[in-house]
Symmetry: C2
Subunit: 367 residues, 2 copies
């Protein structure tokens, strides 16, 4: 249930059964004192950000945190999915150990999905676990990656292959940070917003179709609603199934094809949201070919993704390479690829599909 | 409560509140079919071992597991604490990804503490978590490191700094593997056995003093009792406090000084158990200097450690270096070193001590 905590923030609670934390959503949260109250106390806090985001927001966050910690320092990681790897993760450990950080030290992940995933994993592993707070500054991170405790780095052989389930203490989504987000990244974030419609809420899909222009124009009210509804759905799913033993897998709609695109091209060429967008087009078509949804639902989704300025055509990796890459997907079981498919607008299912049908989909939508 | 499960194995249950698993202790367990029943099913299992242990036991374990998995393969890591690092951990990920291992794949850690810690961490992180089984083949691993779910690798700046709490599905302690253990490693394991006396069970300390010669002679009955009582105490402590928010820290008796020795000399010179043994001598002396225990208790413990053939004199790193190394200990808080001290035979406490007193201890016992 979403409540309004203060003049500024909407609060979406997340409850995984053994951990509970809040997502705060609103304008002006970064500088508001109340945003940072009630977090674990420590002598030291470390803000982990990247070279693109830190110059804009790190000093403000540092000031806001200063009253709560003896020292607050900033670490700037290189920017980009291609740096979501062990050497970059180790930069965080080097800094923490160099600064004498103890087991109480609180990490703040200030940035997009890469910063959040890598900082979360550093928090999970440093001295076997220190507290951390997500401060997502991209639409994609606010609606998806910062919520639910999935942390990871990539391995050359597959995306997010090395990681942990580790929940943050709080997620702070300051909508003002979306104002300066590059348009390409805003669009990429919209891919994950759109995702929640087909898998969980047909009414939300209608709403996105009706308000897409407002979202692209960064209308504060529209973005606020999109972030809030996305977080509510994600919080509900994660509350049912933190460890992805079942239901949670539906959040990966479009991701099986999408991860193959990202891995196949090498990280850093397509944005994650772009790959997911294109992957949703393929997964929706696969759903239609399996007679789960009418063909016009797949067309409708493709049109929305296209209107959002997102790619609907995959790169020409060749069907064999796609299949090879998808077989290392984390949802695969005994070499069988399992796809998140739509069985009705607002309802998803995890299942395998015949290779021949997958090849048909790839032939139509790639190259 | 320890029960007898079959003709062969004693069973010590571990219950952390949200996970439950058994420690099996006995002779002939490696080859017994019933040892491996009831584990999670999977298409694939990977035995992770090292170049010292694999030639002796990997083929036998592989045969025993063959009926339960479609494929069972073996990965041999380099042997030694100096390889408990990221590149070695990554060898496991490379193999898993190269073999197309999925999220059901079960890892078996066959070896001592290093193999167990690193394999456990690989299991915690591969695809955000796959099941694993501990098959400890050293006394130290059987009585300590394989039980309780602490996994880790070292960082050049500190031991076990990067890790996770991640529980195994089962721990299988085949006492027969201790027969071929090098004497130096047997002694190192006895250090952790001795540890349980001062911190938790004064009667067990009496028993160890009375049976030390039997233990050094590898008497099966004596070793069985030592492993069982050690595991019972460890299981009880871990059941109270899985995440080391309090009580569990007592298991680190001797480890603050000990880790400083290991880090200061560089991993691989002293065995972990040797460093802990010497660390216990210092921590007991510190306890006496703080008037927590009579001085003759510290002398008694030192004599036992000496009789076990373990070092009672630390290397000459210099007091400043010792203090610097101990300040990065995971139990430190806000730069203050916290020691596990003995407040009565069988009862430990976690507390700080004045630097001057620590320097006195170092002056007497080092160099």
């Amino acid at each position: 249930m979403t409540t309004r905590a203060s003049s500024r923030a909407l609060v979406v609670p997340v409850d995984t059964g053994h951990q509970r934390y809040d997502i705060l959503i609103g304008s002006g949260l970064l500088d508001a004192a109340e945003t940072w109250q009630g977090l674990p106390r420590a002598a030291m806090a470390l803000i982990v950000s990247n070279t693109a985001v830190a110059p804009r927001y790190a000093a403000r966050l540092r000031s806001a945190l200063a009253p709560h910690y003896g020292s607050v320092s900033v670490l700037e990681l290189p920017d980009g999915e291609q740096f979501k790897d062990w050497p970059t993760l180790n930069l965080i450990f080097d800094r923490l150990l160099g600064d004498g950080a103890d087991r109480q030290t609180v990490l703040f992940a200030l940035g997009g999905g890469v910063v959040g995933d890598i900082t979360g994993l550093a928090a999970a592993l440093y001295m076997r676990g220190v507290p951390f707070v997500q401060v997502p500054t991209t639409l994609l991170a606010q609606v998806d990656s910062s919520v639910g405790g999935k942390t990871a780095i990539n391995h050359p052989a597959g995306k997010n292959m090395i990681g942990a389930f580790y929940q943050p203490q709080r997620v702070v989504c300051d909508l003002d940070t979306l104002r300066t987000l590059p348009l390409r990244e805003l669009r990429a974030g919209l891919a994950e917003v759109i995702k929640y419609g087909p898998i969980a809420d047909a009414g939300f899909l209608d709403w996105i179709e009706a308000h897409l222009d407002d979202l692209l124009a960064r209308d504060a009210g529209a973005l606020g609603h999109a972030v809030r509804r996305s977080c509510e759905i994600k919080a509900w799913v994660v509350g049912q199934d933190e460890r992805e033993s079942g239901l949670r897998a539906i959040l990966n709609f479009g991701h099986t094809f999408g991860h193959a695109i990202e891995s196949g091209l090498g990280y850093g060429h397509w944005l994650h949201g772009e790959a997911v967008a294109c992957g949703m087009v393929m997964a929706a078509d696969l759903s239609a070919r399996l007679d789960l949804v009418p063909a016009d639902f797949a067309v409708r989704l493709k049109q929305l993704i296209q209107r959002a300025g997102l790619p609907v055509r995959g790169p020409a990796l060749g069907a064999d390479r796609y299949l090879e890459l998808m077989r290392v997907d984390k949802k695969a079981q005994g070499g069988e690829i399992r796809f998140v498919l739509i069985e009705a607008p607002g309802r998803a299912v995890l299942r395998a599909a015949p290779d021949a049908l997958v090849r048909d989909v790839l032939a139509v939508h790639c190259g």
